[in-house]
Subunit: 245 residues, 2 copies
């Protein structure tokens, strides 16, 4: 069973056995896990390595001066915090752990080697970044244009699709450890309104959400409700021409 980190990159292209070995070799696993609620990296921290989510969920977030907080992105198993992060002297946002999390780290040297000596890996990592940027744009679109219900529906579709690609869904279901309060910071609305909107979605049979498990009885219907179009995720082997084997 491959690590989610490798599985994710396979959505871009086929990696050779060697590529996968090299990739995993570049990620040094931290000893103890980070507990839910703690930061993986905090804003203003100097950046000494690139964190990789080996297991567990996290989220990027930024605060406003007066305490309001927005979750900027969800980090799922296999996700990498920004490459090129070394260029800036410090983080401009924080990354927190939503569940207990195992984090790996790619050192500056390891990173340089991957990018210089392994073209297929380099392109895969680039792709990872570009997808992350595309997702960030989609969240901008969501917050700017989608209604409350559409925003939540869209988040559910996105998360399910991203988990699917790393093999972490079970039929129509997947883990969903966010509280309604977390969701409110994702979707830029009050916790009370999240609650009411979820009730409406349940009543419509769009989702089930109980005990940290999300079930989507009819994905197409939910996608319709959230104006979800997976194109922005670029999970379509765009790097197939580089593929090994």
């Amino acid at each position: 069973m491959a690590s989610p980190f490798v599985r994710k990159l396979r959505a871009f292209t086929n990696l050779s056995q060697d590529d996968e070995r090299i990739l995993l070799g570049a990620v040094k696993e931290q000893g103890r896990p980070i507990r839910a609620g703690q930061d993986v990296i905090s804003v203003s921290d100097p950046v000494t390595a690139i964190p990789v989510f080996l297991s567990g969920w996290g989220y990027r977030y930024r605060y406003l001066r007066d305490g309001r907080r927005q979750i900027l992105a969800l980090m799922l198993p296999g996700d990498i915090c920004d490459l090129g992060i070394f260029v800036l002297d410090q983080m401009d946002h924080s990354v927190g752990a939503l569940t207990d999390v195992k984090v790996g780290e790619i050192s500056p040297e390891g990173y340089a080697t991957l990018m210089d000596a392994h073209p297929r890996i380099r392109e895969s990592l680039w792709w990872e970044q570009l997808v992350a940027s595309s997702i960030q744009r989609e969240w901008t679109l969501s917050l700017g244009q989608r209604s409350a219900l559409e925003r939540l529906a869209h988040v559910f579709c996105e998360v399910f699709s991203r988990l699917e690609i790393v093999g972490m869904t079970n039929g129509e279901s997947c883990d969903f450890p966010l509280t309604q309060s977390d969701l409110s910071e994702v979707a830029g609305m009050s916790p009370v309104h999240v609650n009411r909107t979820l009730q409406a979605m349940r009543a419509d049979g769009l989702i089930r959400l109980e005990g940290r498990v999300l079930t989507i009885p009819d994905f197409e219907e939910l996608a319709q409700a959230g104006l979800f179009d997976r194109a922005y995720l670029h999970f379509d082997h765009v790097g197939a021409h580089l593929g090994a084997n």
Copy 2:
């Protein structure tokens, strides 16, 4: 008078005369300008070169199926459309011209040379990208957490700051070619509400906005109103240690 493209990168580090010459040499200017309202690149277009805004303003945007549209980012003189864009086979959003625009293009080969043979330029371009990502995150924060007035105030502060760095402000004023309708797509609100919010801001003396010119009598006050903190723009010569001269 240096091109805004070069001036912008100087916010990261000092480039040598050679660097600047090489940089400008890599940008091939298109013959005729793109007229206001036209696309610089359209969604689904194959990507054959990296466009650079030499003069004029543009914006990234994405549509929802039902026609709602969100402006995802503003492109000012000197801005580059995503590097690494070659990795994906096609654009996942469009870039349009807000005013008449002169666009330059960096070819895949020119780009490869810049990145491989010129470390200082490579780092500068990386920095440009990371700043663009940071801005995208800030817009996510804005749309999720800031009120209507705060969002508009923040946009004004951001635009003014970004123009300042390329030397395109005049004292307390700068160009501001967006219509209220454009602003409504930037800030994710209705045109009518933009109008009313602008009136409130004018009444408070936060801004003047007439004839496509924005004036900010007291930047600090506006920054306060928009919870604007320039840190996310990283205009602080973080690459000073690489500097030439």
